[in-house]
């Protein structure tokens, strides 16, 4: 199993450009998440999904959109990129379980908006 994969690894955007961050997991996990991590800080939840066709906002959703058409894929879309979106973006997944739900993280996408 590859686990959680993310592309691209690095990207530089100009202000106002758009892009999609890709995330794929091959563990058949129901739950998927997008986090951002600013330098020296913790993880902030952007969006999450509990299954194909179902998404919901996290703590910091403004400026982002997501979709979940399949169990495996959970892309994150940035429209009109702003310098405040410079961050490292992590995708994660977990099983649906009432008690044990460790999250598996992808390697991250380092995004710079200039």
């Amino acid at each position: 199993n590859a686990g959680v994969t993310q592309t691209p690894k690095f990207r530089i955007l100009k202000i106002g450009q758009s892009m999609t961050l890709q995330c794929t997991q091959d563990m058949n996990h129901n739950y998927m998440y997008w986090y951002r991590q600013d330098p020296g800080m913790g993880l902030k939840l952007i969006y999450y999904s509990v299954g194909a066709g179902i998404t919901d906002k996290g703590e910091v959703p403004n400026g982002y959109n997501v979709s979940r058409s399949t169990t495996e894929d959970f892309p994150l879309r940035l429209e009109l990129a702003a310098p405040s979106q410079t961050s490292v973006y992590f995708c994660a997944s977990s099983i649906r379980d009432r008690v044990y739900n460790e999250q598996f993280f992808g390697p991250g996408t380092r995004l710079t908006v200039l």
Binding site: Y31, L43, L45, V50, E102, F105, P107
Partner: protein, 111 residues
């Protein structure tokens, strides 16, 4: 909303010294998880604590969950250079699978 605070933010230790990071939640948690992130890497799950007062050990690492299920700690005995990284706690409330991450404690070990 729920807040999870971690202290200290940074800790420098000499190799062989002990290290402790503390995690406090503003609300009662159903469980708490701990993750380690190496420099330039991604968070990796270490352990989950579920029961009030629970204590778990992984070699030199000891994890505790408070009696009120609002705080937790991670203690590393005799640190090694391989322990370098940022340690995050993440609290889960009863509803849903969502975790709220603490700000992390960055551990630096001098050889």
């Amino acid at each position: 909303g729920q807040q999870v605070m971690q202290i200290p933010q940074y800790q420098h230790v000499q190799e062989g010294e002990d290290f402790t990071t503390y995690c406090n939640s503003s609300t009662t948690l159903s469980n708490i998880q701990w993750y380690k992130q190496r420099p330039g890497g991604h968070p990796v799950f270490l352990i989950q604590l579920v029961k009030s007062g629970e204590v778990k050990k992984q070699k030199r690492l000891t994890f505790q969950f408070g009696e009120a299920k609002k705080n937790s700690s991670l203690h590393i005995t005799a640190t090694q250079t391989t322990d370098v990284g940022t340690y995050f706690c993440a609290g889960r409330r009863n509803a849903g699978n969502m975790l709220t991450f603490g700000g992390g404690t960055r551990l630096m070990v001098k050889p």
